[in-house]
């Protein structure tokens, strides 16, 4: 094969041609990639162009930190104050099909107060094939509920007090859409207006110091005894109340002593202090005294035959009563129990064994926890202590047995533990610090699944009394 022949041969020709094609292609690609690179800044101008069509420019760019930018249902990556006074927020919502959904939300800021949503535009949403501007009408109905938004309601796909069926068409990422818009609203309220935004499970929870408040539920008697500790209300100090509500009406209401020495007794009407005024009142009557749901109109006090003055403290009285009565059903809803946010209530069952008296058998099914699959536990609690704790099989084959400690799996670790000891492992009530596992003498690793273990145990112990009366008969 002489050299000349080699150059003519098919082998060399194919090598040369392919090399030529590849070099040209590679060159073109690299050059065009640099040439046509769309910088973020240009992309941002394009979005502004699309939303405002040139009518407004960016006045000020807000700094986004990890602390003010992340929320439980989504996150905010950028926010700008526009020349027309409104705020343009780039927020993402979790739970989209195959990834988060990113939205540009224009929030109306009328003279420093939240005024609703002016426009919503899809930025990109990985995993969503075509939600582009073909269906702009898709986002209009986000802007049609401003009055409800001002009241404090949020967008959602389920639940009573949310604005739902806002999103039609693809239901897959509709909750991601709502999460993104809600996140933008929360960000606007917290970062821009400085309001303290915390999502509440109960009504009037804003005024109650939940950490010290205890709720005793008696399912059989359908009554709740609460020890409500109110937050300080302006100059009025924090007041504590012992309230029992039966069948939705207050049966006992007594302001415990601590408030007296800080305040002048004569200013507060006798019937308020010993609670006789509230006895027998239902949620509607109390709510009537708090027209806008929070402030007590002093003038109304005469109308109710009460001594005027000390309106801030009496306001706390009314708020406590409202808190106790308005949430009466909510207290009995299992989702609002302590440590209950990760339990899958559809599949869980709780049976109360009559013969043994105070023994409750719980089959608790935990929701999936990040990548850890949903795990089911069979727990029996007798006289307030765990007597048997066993993780049923389903979780094993998806997960590596060696990662979870033997004593956790067969439950021996939890037997006999008190609620305090278990609660100690969950500092903020829900996350298990992997490092602590070592401290408790357990194999580290597989922290997500072990977290479900601890949560289930904590739930079982803390709600033993509730299910003692509330669970089905065995």
């Amino acid at each position: 094969m002489t050299v000349k022949q080699f150059f003519k041969s098919n082998a060399f020709k194919s090598l040369a041609v392919l090399l030529a094609i590849v070099i040209i292609a590679g060159g073109l690609l690299a050059i065009f990639n640099d040439l046509l690179f769309v910088s973020d800044e240009e992309r941002f101008n394009r979005t502004i162009e699309k939303i405002y069509g040139g009518s407004a420019t960016v006045e000020e760019t807000l700094t986004i930190t990890d602390e003010n930018g992340t929320f439980d249902k989504g996150a905010v990556s950028a926010a700008y104050k526009m020349s027309d006074g409104n705020y343009l927020i780039h927020s993402s919502g979790k739970g989209g099909y195959g990834g988060d959904v990113y939205l540009w939300v224009v929030v109306i800021a009328e003279n420093g107060k939240f005024g609703g949503i002016e426009k919503v535009l899809l930025d990109t949403s990985d995993g969503e094939t075509l939600l582009g501007n073909f269906r702009d009408s898709f986002y209009e109905n986000f802007t049609k509920h401003n009055d409800e938004l001002v009241e404090g309601k949020y967008f959602g796909t389920s639940g009573s007090d949310v604005i739902n069926n806002v999103v039609t068409g693809t239901t897959l990422s509709s909750n991601a859409m709502c999460n993104a818009v809600n996140t933008a609203i929360d960000f606007f309220k917290s970062a821009v207006l400085g309001e303290e935004v915390v999502s509440y499970t109960y009504l009037y929870e804003k005024y109650v110091d939940m950490t010290q408040t205890t709720i005793e539920r008696d399912f059989a008697a359908n009554s709740v005894t609460l020890r409500i500790v109110m937050q300080a209300n302006g100059i009025a100090p924090s007041i504590a109340f012992d309230v029992t509500v039966k069948d939705g009406a207050i049966t006992a209401f007594e302001a415990t002593k601590p408030f007296v020495q800080q305040y002048d007794e004569t200013k507060i009407d006798e019937s308020l202090r010993n609670g006789t005024y509230f006895v027998g009142k239902t949620a509607e009557e109390i709510a009537a005294a708090l027209p806008d749901g929070e402030t007590l109109d002093p003038a109304k006090l005469e109308g109710l035959g009460l001594a005027t003055g000390a309106s801030r403290s009496s306001e706390s009285f009314f708020r406590a009563a409202a808190f106790a009565t308005a949430n009466f059903e909510a207290f009995f809803a299992p989702e609002n129990l302590t440590y209950a946010s990760y339990v899958d209530f559809e599949q869980s069952t709780f049976t109360w064994n009559y013969t043994e008296g105070n023994e409750v058998k719980m089959h608790i099914v935990m929701q999936a926890n990040g990548i850890a699959p949903s795990i089911a536990f069979d727990v029996t609690v007798k006289d307030g202590a765990i007597t048997a704790f066993e993780a049923t099989k389903p979780f094993v084959q998806q997960y590596d047995e060696t990662k979870i400690d033997e004593s956790l799996r067969n439950g021996t670790y939890f037997v006999g533990k008190t609620l305090e000891e278990i609660a100690a492992a969950l500092p903020d009530g829900e996350t298990l610090d992997p490092a602590k596992l070592g401290g408790l003498g357990l194999a580290t690793g597989a922290s997500r699944s072990s977290e479900s273990f601890f949560r289930a145990a904590a739930f079982a112990l803390s709600n033993y009394t509730f299910y003692l009366t509330g669970g089905e008969q065995a």
Binding site: L28, T129, N133
Partner: protein, 225 residues
């Protein structure tokens, strides 16, 4: 019919890429959950197919047979990527609606299929016509399936909600298979009917006896009797 019209009709109807050659099934099954996706994907494929057929048929004599597949695929992939970059830079709103399909096209079997079967053997003009015809045939097929699945699956037509009676089966992938199978069956049925009619007409033309339709002695005698 002259050559070009025949290629066009071939690409569009007779051997339609989706229903007859059954190529590009991944895109067909995945993207026909809504009609708009079908149209968007179809038009993007048509554009890319036209470009790639022309370029490949220009180079068909140069590329030796031993390395034809890598060569073709590099050409197609580079073209799609540069098209995507250009679209993103100069026509952003078109990119928003079409852009999401372009990376999918590189993996689409139709482009390489037509390049391999047709463009690498035919002159440029034929390849171009074939590219456009196959692309439009693909768009039509995807739109039809998109409409069916969207109408039955999510009760809307091109995004406009008509009724909220939804059959989940049709938006699922098992449903995609089913609808695709039924469309092919319908297509085969129709094309068979058309072909029989065409063949019967051709056979009848043949059957006219040499001297002319009626003056043959045998036939006239019999009719009078």
């Amino acid at each position: 019919m002259n050559k070009y019209v025949k290629t066009a009709v071939d690409g569009l109807i007779t051997n339609n890429a989706t229903f007859k050659l059954v190529l590009g099934t991944c895109a067909t099954l995945a993207l026909t959950t809504s009609a708009i996706n079908g149209v968007g994907m179809g038009l993007s494929v048509t554009a890319v197919l036209l470009l790639s057929n022309v370029v490949i048929s220009l180079l068909r004599k140069v590329i030796p047979n031993t390395v034809r597949i890598p060569a073709f695929i590099v050409i197609i992939a580079t073209m799609v990527t540069i098209l995507r970059m250009a679209l993103d830079k100069f026509l952003p709103d078109l990119y928003d609606s079409m852009g999401v399909f372009l990376p999918l096209i590189v993996v689409n079997c139709i482009i390489l299929g037509r390049a391999e079967a047709f463009a690498s053997k035919q002159p440029v003009l034929d390849s171009a016509i074939d590219g456009v015809a196959t692309g439009l045939g693909f768009t039509a097929a995807l739109t039809i399936m998109g409409v069916i699945r969207e109408l039955l699956g999510s009760g809307s037509f091109f995004g406009i909600q008509l009724w909220d009676f939804k059959i989940g089966f049709f938006t699922s992938s098992a449903g995609a298979f089913f609808v695709y199978g039924m469309c092919i069956a319908l297509f085969t049925l129709i094309s068979n009917r058309v072909e029989y009619a065409h063949r019967a007409r051709k056979a009848r033309e043949l059957r006219v006896p040499a001297e002319g339709p009626l003056d043959a002695p045998g036939i006239s005698a019999k009719e009078e009797a």
